[in-house]
Structures are given as C-alpha cells and as structure tokens.
C-alpha cells in the first residue's frame, strides 16, 4: 500500500474511524435481526410467531401447568404474562433449581408452526427473587437483589 508519508496520520485516523464505524454498522444490522430476540406471550399475540430463528421467551409459569412426560426428562408447561396470552412450552432437559409454578422463567429455543415453543434451554435464575429484567416492570414480580 502506497501512502504518502505526509498523510500517514490522516490515513490511520480514517482507517480507525472506518473500522469502528464498520463494526458499529455490522453490530446494528446484526442487532436488527436480534431486535426481537425476546418474546413475552403478549408479544407473540401481537407480532405473530417468529418461525425463522431462535428466540427467547419469558413469563410466568402458569399454576398447575407443568406436566412430566413418560421418558422422565421431557416436560411441558404454559407461560403467561399479565395479558390473557399464553405460550405452550416443550422442554427436554434438566430444569434449573428454581424452576417452579407461579414463578418467572426465561427459555431459549424455537417456535413450531403450531405455536408450541420448543425450548433448548431454560435459563437458570440466580436466586429466588430473580426476575428477567424484561418482566420486572410489568408488575408481575418485584425485582430484588440478594440483599
């Protein structure tokens, strides 16, 4: 690369700006795909099913909805929020220590066309007061710390 020595500082500066701007643009475009990474039941009702990608859902596990399947490792349950909307969830795996009915849950996975969410992972809560930040302000649960 031939750069006039006189302009080297300018070229370096421009390169730096281009690199950082490029990174931010790349980030923004990747973000656009991700913008709706998190779905609460009400969002699914409003925006429709995101069938083309992996997403996260979150809400409250409905009372009495956890059912264990015969294989011993699969469960299904219903996630709701403060609207009438609900999401049926299917999960194969070990549930986190604090996974229980009437408590917050965040799951990662994909929707099936029939509306069932097949979770690949249920994110653990770190303590009994933990609430996904996305739900904290919806009046479902008080977000508090360990103190």
């Amino acid at each position: 690369m031939v750069v006039k020595p006189k302009n080297q500082r300018l070229v370096l500066l421009l390169l730096a700006v281009v690199a950082v701007l490029g990174a931010v643009l790349l980030a923004m475009s990747a973000m656009r795909d991700q913008a709706s990474f998190f779905y609460a039941p009400a969002d699914v009702a409003r925006k429709g099913l995101p069938l083309d990608r992996a997403v996260r859902i979150g809400g409250m596990v409905r009372q009495g909805s956890i059912r264990r399947h015969a294989d011993g490792v699969t469960i299904d349950f219903v996630v709701g929020d403060d609207t009438p909307a609900t999401i049926p969830v299917l999960y194969t795996g070990i549930t986190p220590d604090l996974f229980q009915e009437n408590s917050g849950v965040v799951a990662e996975g994909r929707f099936r066309p029939d509306g069932t969410f097949v979770a690949s992972e249920i994110l653990a809560k770190h303590d009994e007061n933990y609430m996904p930040p996305q739900l904290g302000e919806r009046g479902l649960h008080k977000t508090e710390s360990l103190e």
Binding site: M1, V3, P5, Q8, R9, L12, L15, A16, A19, V20, G22, A23, V24, L26, A27, M28, A30, M31, D33, Q34, A35, F37, F38, R53, A54, R56, R68, D71, G72, V73, T92, G93, I94, T95, D97, L98, E108, E121, A124, H126, D127, E128, Y130, M131, P132, P133, Q134, G136, T143, E144, S145, L146, E147
Partner: protein
C-alpha cells in the same frame, strides 16, 4: 471498635486523596517543586489506610460481628471460614471497598516503585490517581458505607448467596479487580503525560509494565470466571455473552489493544495520540463495567445493589472522569507531535491492524451490551441481545484478528517485504492446510466456524512459535518468550473453543439405579443416590462410575444441594478430567418411578480453553519480567529520584 477504626481509616484515606490531588496540582505550578517530595509519601499513606480499612472489614466478617449491618445482611456464623473471608467482597459495599483499596494500593505502588517516569509527569499521574480515588471514596462514605452499625444486633446473619459459596469467590473477584482497577494506572499515566506534554517513548516504556501487570490479572480473572461459571452453573457452557461477562471482556479488549500500541510507542515512537486515547478508553471500559455490574441495571449474581441512588452516583462519576479525560485529550492532543512513520507492511502496520480489529470487536460488544439498555431507558422498549448476535458479529473479526496475530509477530519493524513474509509463514500455512484436510477427513459434517477455528488454531499455533525459529533459545530475550507463549496460548484456547463446540456429546436420561448410559466414548453406570451433608447444606448425591474402553474408572458424584441460610437449592456438577477432555455430569430431579434425571456431557479438549487463558497470562508475566530486567539494565533517567 473495629468497624469504627475501619471507617476512620477510610475517612483519613479520603482526606489524604484530597491532599494528594491539591499537592499534586500545586507542585506542577512554577515554584511548587518543593512540594514534590511530599506527594509520594502521601500516596503511600493513602494506600496503607485504604488497605487497613479493607482488612478491618475482613476481620469483621471473620468474626461474624453481627452488629455491623453489612455482616448481618451477608454473612452467617455457620459459614465455613473461607466464605466468611471471601464473603467480605461478596456484596456491594465490600466489593466497592475492595475496588478503592486496589486503586489506592496501585497508586501507592506507583509512588514507591516508579523511577523511570519524568518527575513532573509522575506527580501529575499521582494527582490523577487521587482524583479518581476521591470520587469513589465519596461514593463509599456517603452512599455505600460498609461499616454502618446495626441496632439492635440480630441473633443471626442472613448468609451468603450459595452460588457464591465456592473457592472461586476467593480468587475470581480480587484477580479481576486487580486488572480492572489496575488499568486506572494507565489512565492516570495518560492524563499525567497529557498535562505535562510528555507523550513519548520514555513515557511508554514507563507505562508498559503497569499495563502488562493489570492485563495479566484481567486475563486470569476472566479465565477463572469462565471456569467458575462452567462448573458452578451446571449448564456446561463456558461463555454466555452475559452483560457482566461483557463488562469484563471490554476492558480486556481495550487493554490488549493498549498493550500492543504502547509497544509501538516505546519501540518506534509511533501511535502517540492513539496510545493515550486507548489508555483513556481502557479505564473508561473498566468504569462502565463497574457501573453495569454494580448499579443494579443488570439483574445477575453479580449485581448486589438495586439502589437507584448508587447507580446514579456511579454514572455521574463515570461521566465526570471519562468526560474530563476526553476534554483534556481534546485540548492537549494538538500539542502531541506526530510520531515516526512506517510502512504498511511492517510490525507497526500489523499492530495497527491488531488495534483496529480489537477496537472493532470492542465496538460490537459495547453496542450489543449497552444498546438494549439505552433503548430501554429512552423508549421503554425491552430488547434482549443474545449469543447469536455476538457470535455472528464478533466471531469472524476475532478469527481475522487471530490470523493477523500469527503473521504480525514475524514482521520486521518499520518496513518489510510481503514476499519475505510469505516465505516465513510457508510452514504454518502448510500446517493449516494439513489440519484442514485432517479435520475434514476425520470429522466430516463439522460446522464452518469450528472448522475454521481448528484450522486456524493449528496454523497460528505454529506461526506463533516461529519467532523462536533459528534463534539461540538460551539467548532469546524473555519478552520474546512472553509474546510467543501468549500468542500460542490464544491458539490453544481457540482450539479448545472450536473443539468444544464441534465435538461435545450429550446424553440426557431419566435413569434407574443400576442403569448404564453412554456418552461419546464413555459408558457410565449409575449406582444410585445417597443423602450427604456439608457445614451449611444438605444434598442428594448421585454415585456414578465412568469407564472408557479398557481404561480405569472414574467416580463421579454430582449433587443437588439445599443450603440452609438462605434456603436455596443449587446444583453441583461432577467433572472428571482426563488428558483429552472432561466428562461433565449434572443431576436433576427424581420422578415417581424412582428415576433420576441425569445430564452427561463429553467435552473433548474443553480444558484447552482455560489452559490457553493461563498461557496467555503466563506469557504476559514473562514479558513483564523480561521488560523490567531490561529496563533495569538501561540506566534510569538522570533526574534524581526524590523520595
């Protein structure tokens, strides 16, 4: 009295930091030279007092003095002593006290040890360090006092979050903090050099060991945190792109860039303004990390406080320091002369590319971590940015960066020839091709990213050793060894990551006692469960025996624990480590038929991830020792050291 003594030490340290700031400012004025000799002892005394306050807090925790609010809220008399000790920083106030203690001790270390820096720049540096300290002392004393008494004294404390009750707590936070806060030295150096217009190679040589030291701790802290999350959370993952992880990654990225640009400045007197800027950015990232983690903006095991007043306080401090440094930078950067020039194909050129790519990754992580918070603050809309974003945006750039790393170390300073470079990396390229062929043949159907990762790891591993080629190994300077080991560590870590993501095997079953399961090459027999008890928990422990081929057997005992105070269930995974990977077992719940959920992973070469991290830190240590030894031999500046 211990609490009062600690509090008094803290107030005195705060007062000394104010004094240090004023003395420093006065000493820089014409005629203020006589004040020079006082600034150093003041900085040392401030460090000692902060350390005394911190030791007082540890003492209170060890004694479980429940008349202190912080101890009552976060400790318990039945806790093992290690967690009483480490629990001193397992809470908001204690961790902030640790933060400020490291800041003050680092300042004292600069005052005691730094001999190469120009005298006035050193004074300005210590003043800048005092200015940072002052803000955080005020924060601690007025918004997060760790020594507040509680009346009446409760009978028993609340206990420590069981997830934190792990030997990792004794190691991970202090190490990470040493790195986080150690970067403040680089920041203060940069501010000091801007104030006294001293940005040049001598300044860079003086700053480099401090940057290296902080960076070593940061590397170790992140590596330890990753391994802790891996075995404690029981999800089998080692990096989650969680905002608190990103909060530690961002300063590391900036510090890594700084480490390389400061070398250009020290060796070739290039990249002056850029290096100063990076020092400011690196510590800004540390403070942003502190803000993210400690303000309660994020809900996580790291967020101890949700008091909005505290978050706002840290935010104001952060804006003040970053804004101030940037304003100084803007005012003074015109006076920083352009450094020497170089060809694009040269060691400098490669280091510039390294810096640009690291900055790009930093930008991506920064946007992904903070953009959702900003959007939420402005519009109230909730965004959640997850691993797919970070992997797809930062992954390719990271692979490119590793490639450049392999070539850069083989380039000469100032100017080099592309043809010569190609000849030098011919062998690594061949190794790359061989690895590609081997992986495709042995593991057909492997994903693109892991394939690239493994191939690159082989080539870059070879290329990073190449600087030793045809050298007399005995006479190779230690800092060259440091670079080689650190770069090789990156390749090792990359191989571990690629291997983990490509070859992990998982089995999930509800098993009856006596049942035999298979995962990867292992056959694992589940004998049954037994109740066990620890000092402050009870648990169900599964007994498993793992066997591979005709080899010996391993006992695995994963537990489902129930802690008594506070009552919390946790899962303790069991891990068997063999030379080529780890077998990882977690226990779930029982069902009515007497079956237990068991999740087993075979993760080939996963240990390389952390081994690589350790090598990177070791490389840093070798470079640090090598640099210090060499600097020692070059006579220090002629100015008389004052203290």
């Amino acid at each position: 009295m211990i609490a009062e003594g600690g509090l008094a030490a803290l107030w005195l340290a705060a007062a000394l930091s104010l004094l240090q700031l004023f003395l420093g400012a006065a000493a820089l004025r014409p005629g203020g030279e006589t004040l020079l000799r006082i600034v150093r002892p003041v900085a040392v005394a401030q460090g000692v007092l902060a350390a005394v306050a911190f030791l007082a807090l540890i003492w209170l925790f060890l004694r479980t003095d429940l008349s202190v609010e912080l101890v009552a809220a976060n400790s318990h008399s039945a806790k093992p002593w290690l967690y009483k000790f480490a629990g001193a920083w397992g809470n908001h106030e204690g961790s902030m006290l640790l933060w400020i203690t490291i800041l003050a001790v680092a300042g004292a270390a600069v005052a005691l040890l730094e001999r190469r820096l120009r005298q006035d720049t050193l004074i300005a540096t210590l003043a800048a360090q005092a200015a940072i300290g002052l803000g955080f002392y005020v924060f601690l004393l007025f918004a997060s006092n760790p020594f507040t008494r509680l009346s009446p004294t409760p009978v028993e404390g609340n206990g420590l979050n069981p997830l934190l009750q792990d030997p990792g707590l004794a190691f991970h936070p202090p190490t990470l903090y040493f790195g986080y806060v150690g970067i403040s030295i680089a920041f203060s150096f940069a501010v000091g050099a801007l104030v006294t217009r001293d940005v040049g190679p001598a300044f860079a040589r003086a700053m480099r060991p401090w940057v290296l030291a902080a960076w070593i701790f940061l590397t170790l802290g992140i590596t330890a945190g990753s391994y802790w999350a891996y075995y404690e959370l029981g999800w089998g993952g080692w990096w989650f792109w969680d905002p608190v992880e990103n909060a530690s990654l961002m300063p590391w990225l900036a510090a890594t860039a700084l480490l390389h640009s400061v070398t250009v400045l020290a060796t070739r007197d290039g990249l002056r303004a850029w290096t100063v800027m990076l020092a400011v950015v690196a510590f800004s990232m540390s403070m942003i990390g502190t803000f993210l983690v400690r303000s309660g903006i994020l809900t996580s095991v790291h967020a101890f406080a949700v008091d909005p007043q505290r978050g706002a306080f840290i935010l104001v401090l952060l804006l003040f320091y970053i804004g101030g440094a940037l304003a100084l930078f803007g005012l003074r950067i015109g006076t920083v002369k352009e450094g020497s020039r170089f060809d694009f194909v040269s060691r400098e050129g490669a280091l510039v590319v390294n810096n640009l790519l690291l900055s790009a990754i930093l930008g991506i992580v920064f946007v992904g971590t903070l953009y959702p918070l900003a959007v939420e603050a402005v519009t109230g809309e909730k965004l959640s940015v997850g691993p797919p974003y970070f992997n797809s945006a930062a992954g390719p750039i990271a692979l490119l960066l590793v490639t450049v790393m392999g070539m850069g170390a083989l380039l000469r300073w100032r100017r080099d020839d592309l043809g010569a470079l190609v000849r030098r990396i011919a062998v690594p390229i061949l190794i790359c091709a061989a690895a590609l062929l081997l992986v495709v043949l042995l593991a057909p159907g492997i994903g693109v990213l892991p394939l690239l990762g493994l191939t690159l790891a082989a080539g870059v591993g070879a290329a990073s050793l190449a600087p030793l080629w045809k050298r007399n190994l005995r006479r190779t300077p230690l800092f060259i060894w440091g670079m080689v080991v650190a770069h090789f560590g990156i390749a090792v870590s990359l191989a571990g990551m690629a291997s983990e993501s490509a070859f992990t095997r998982e089995t999930l079953v509800a098993a009856q006692p006596g049942q035999v399961m298979n995962v990867g090459p292992w056959s694992v027999r589940f004998a049954g469960v037994e109740p066990v008890a620890g000092p402050n928990w009870t648990a169900i422990e599964a007994r498993l025996t793992a066997r591979r081929g005709g080899g010996g057997s391993f006992e695995l005992r994963p537990q489902a624990r129930m802690f008594s105070s506070p009552p919390t269930p946790t899962s303790e995974a069991a891990i068997a480590t063999v030379w080529n990977g780890q077998l990882y077992v977690a226990i779930g719940e029982p069902d009515e038929q007497g079956r237990w959920q068991l999740r087993l992973w075979w993760k080939p070469w996963v240990t390389l991830i952390w081994l690589g991290g350790g090598l990177v830190a070791l490389g840093g240590l070798l470079a640090l020792i090598g640099r210090l030894r060499r600097e020692h031999r070059i006579p220090a500046r002629t100015e008389e050291a004052i203290a």
